[in-house]
Assembly symmetry: C2
Amino acid sequence: MGNYISDAVIKRLPRYRRYLRNLEKSGVSRVSSKELGEMMDVTASQIRQDLNHFGGFGQQGYGYGVAELGNSLEQIMGLDKTYNIAFIGCGRLGQALIGYLNGNEPHYKIVALCDNRPELAGTEIAGIKVMDKEEFKVRMRKGDIDILALTAPARIADEVAGDLEGTGIRGVWNFGHTDITIKGVHVMNVHLSDSLHALTYYINHLD
Amino acid sequence: MGNYISDAVIKRLPRYRRYLRNLEKSGVSRVSSKELGEMMDVTASQIRQDLNHFGGFGQQGYGYGVAELGNSLEQIMGLDKTYNIAFIGCGRLGQALIGYLNGNEPHYKIVALCDNRPELAGTEIAGIKVMDKEEFKVRMRKGDIDILALTAPARIADEVAGDLEGTGIRGVWNFGHTDITIKGVHVMNVHLSDSLHALTYYINHLD
């Protein structure tokens, strides 16, 4: 597992897992790479290549065990553990994501919130107190936050993100409009408009 | 341009464009595929291959004209035109995206909103009346909506999406939790948790 695995492969894992979990819910117990590929609109050989990075799954001619492969993918991604997540930015996007995680993602526990706007700081969202920047910087030092979600304007996000060293925070889920890099931390830059722009390409090239 | 271009290539175009526009803002006028690749963490040959699908850009040894390539990518994606977009679902996620588009995406004009919740139907968001489902179904038939954003619970989204034929809607930007397929329409399924799950992989595999 120490071999280099490209970002493109890693970014496909969550989608494989979703399809497998949906198959499992529909009562399907085995699936071939060909069948899975047809559902997902990728080639069977792409699926086999991607999964080969993580060891052997499935047997030639027998396909994959749907539940087993789903479980394995969860273990590979670390979704068999639970993570503490904090949000900087509790506006509409922050609140939408907080609501989404609380309803759909039992492996992520929201433990702290930060927003400097006077109408939000000091209030509670989803039962958690919204701290202002200074209080949150102290809170970060407690060392129990795994992931920081950035759903705030760039200025405050930059300022707090510049202060992560020694907090134990290992990942940043960044919805800001500029890609950021932080030493020792993995940053996942999410650009909501990228999918809209790709969609725009497609609507101009419909068959 | 009639050749087959994979989804993976199309999904990279918005990112190339972002990087080029940022370079342009920084006053850079030419960039080599090697330099661009280093910034974007992809190989130079990947960039050349991707762009070759759309004709010849740049000259061996001279690199790409930053502004020109940015313009070309916008034309390829159709970002030189303007699109009318409607939202089904005006909760927190819908409102976050509406605010984001209004502030950052001049080529998308929000023309209609739908939400059946009594506290929202009949109100205005960003100056646009929120219609209930029945009123919105009539509004769709006016024929001027290009893209439908689905930011609503699956049930209402399914019901309205089942009624798109003849409306002229060509694209669906789907934030629902289940992938959907609609004949004659391009659906871009967005899964906000996929990026969080990929991030989770990475925080478990930090160097």
